[in-house]
């Protein structure tokens, strides 16, 4: 399987999270998967400014010239896209969110009814499944994990995909990779 991890750890001092992601990658590769991570804090990623150039001027292409095109290319070619982030103030880091909302050029402005709700139509025939890797912080509780997971279950629908799994970064790497294998 092809797996892309977006590592949204904003803090280079949080070494445990980066180490965890590195171990996951190593284990997945050892199991024969094509796995790769983007360390977002080391990349030039601009904020979505809601200009909709990607929908109404250059369909499918963002107005910003930064490091995101490499992410677009990787995301559209992968089977599983994992958003990975320490929980900061009870949610994904702003850094992860910044890359996340820049994925909007990958879908289409037109609406459709899906699961009884209004959603945007797909631009591409196939999208990767979504997964989450979350690291609890000092002030994190189960509610935070649930709230974040619920939001990303919604986000997966809007990404014309589904949330396949949520992993906490305190779980053994082996166990997590077993579950990824089973997806």
């Amino acid at each position: 399987m092809n797996i892309i991890i977006l590592n949204g750890n904003p803090d280079a001092g949080n070494k445990s999270f980066d180490r965890y992601i590195a171990s996951i990658l190593k284990e997945l590769t050892g199991r024969g998967h094509q796995a790769r991570a983007f360390t977002l804090r080391e990349m030039n990623i601009r904020y979505c400014i809601g200009c909709w150039t990607c929908w109404i001027k250059t369909p499918g292409e963002c107005v910003h010239r930064d490091d995101m095109p490499a992410v677009y290319k990787a995301v559209m070619a992968t089977d599983l896209l994992i958003f990975a982030s320490p929980l900061v103030m009870g949610f994904m880091s702003g850094l992860l969110k910044r890359a996340n909302e820049r994925l909007i050029p990958l879908i289409h402005p037109y609406s459709e009814i899906s699961q009884g709700e209004c959603h945007h139509r797909r631009r591409y025939a196939r999208y990767p499944g979504l997964g989450l890797i979350l690291q609890k912080g000092a002030d994190t509780d189960e509610d935070d994990v649930r709230i974040t997971t619920d939001i990303y279950r919604r986000e997966a629908v809007n990404f014309r995909s589904s949330l396949r799994a949520t992993f906490l970064a305190d779980r053994p790497v082996n166990e997590v990779c077993n579950e990824i294998d089973a997806l």
Binding site: Y47, I49, P59, G60, G94, E101, Y110, S111, E117
Partner: protein
């Protein structure tokens, strides 16, 4: 009452959030002595200065458009700045945590382009918890869908929407609360009724639902390329 108002729209001054807030402020300042301090959060460099001000207010409102099912990244970054300024939470005797400080009451306005409120209900859960995390009383979250497009709509179609925001502001300016019935009316139903879904399907089948986008794409000479897939592997 001193209101600290944070506009979390990445579009900033020209945004739909700005338009809705204008009407809220009109209502709020109808009460003598009420003042508003207004900050745009899309200026990320200003976050530290903006965060330094929030404790001085009598009430705080953060308003933003729904971005990928939650708050825009500029708003999340600002929340992290607010969080970094907190004192460490103390543990209580029972092992629970209490917010170490008492901060002004905190409310939110979430607007989205989707017609139904359901899309914003999930971030609402987060916002309610966030208020507690910051040591603030949670005022509530005003939710409004179908906001994209208000800038191209004829004024009479927006009149009731703007009046509702003005009413909310006026009520808030006196009570420091969001008027519950106006709030419920603004949010509308969480999901479309079967009838409305049918109508919407009809609009989609006839292409009318896409006409707003089509006219924008045609204006930019992009209509023929609307199904482009530049990242198709």
């Amino acid at each position: 009452m001193r209101l600290m108002l944070y506009n979390g729209s990445p579009r900033g001054k020209g945004s739909n959030t700005t338009i809705l807030l204008k009407h809220f402020i009109d209502g709020f300042t109808a009460t003598q002595g009420n003042t508003v301090e207004y900050v745009y959060l899309n200026n990320v460099k200003g976050h530290a200065a903006a965060a330094a001000k929030w404790r001085e207010a009598d009430a705080v409102i953060i308003a933003f458009p729904l971005y990928a099912d939650s708050m825009p990244a500029v708003v999340k970054d600002f929340i992290e700045t607010l969080g970094a300024g907190r004192k460490k939470p103390k543990k209580t005797a029972k092992g629970g945590r209490v917010a170490p400080e008492k901060n002004p009451p905190l409310g939110f306005i979430v607007q989205s382009g989707f017609p139904e409120a359901i899309h914003s209900r999930y971030v609402e859960k987060y916002l309610e918890k966030l208020a507690g995390r910051l040591g603030s009383r949670y005022i509530g979250t005003i939710i409004r869908g179908g906001v994209e497009g208000i800038q191209v709509m004829p004024p009479y179609l927006n009149r009731r929407l703007f009046m509702a925001f003005s009413c909310l502001g006026r009520h808030f300016g006196v009570t420091k609360e969001f008027h519950p019935i106006t709030m419920r009316k603004l949010a509308g139903r969480d999901r479309m009724t079967a009838f409305k879904q049918g109508m919407f399907r009809l609009l989609i089948a006839t292409g009318l639902a896409d006409s707003y986008w089509n006219s924008q794409m045609k204006k930019n000479g992009a209509y023929e390329r609307r199904f482009d897939q530049p990242y198709q592997p």
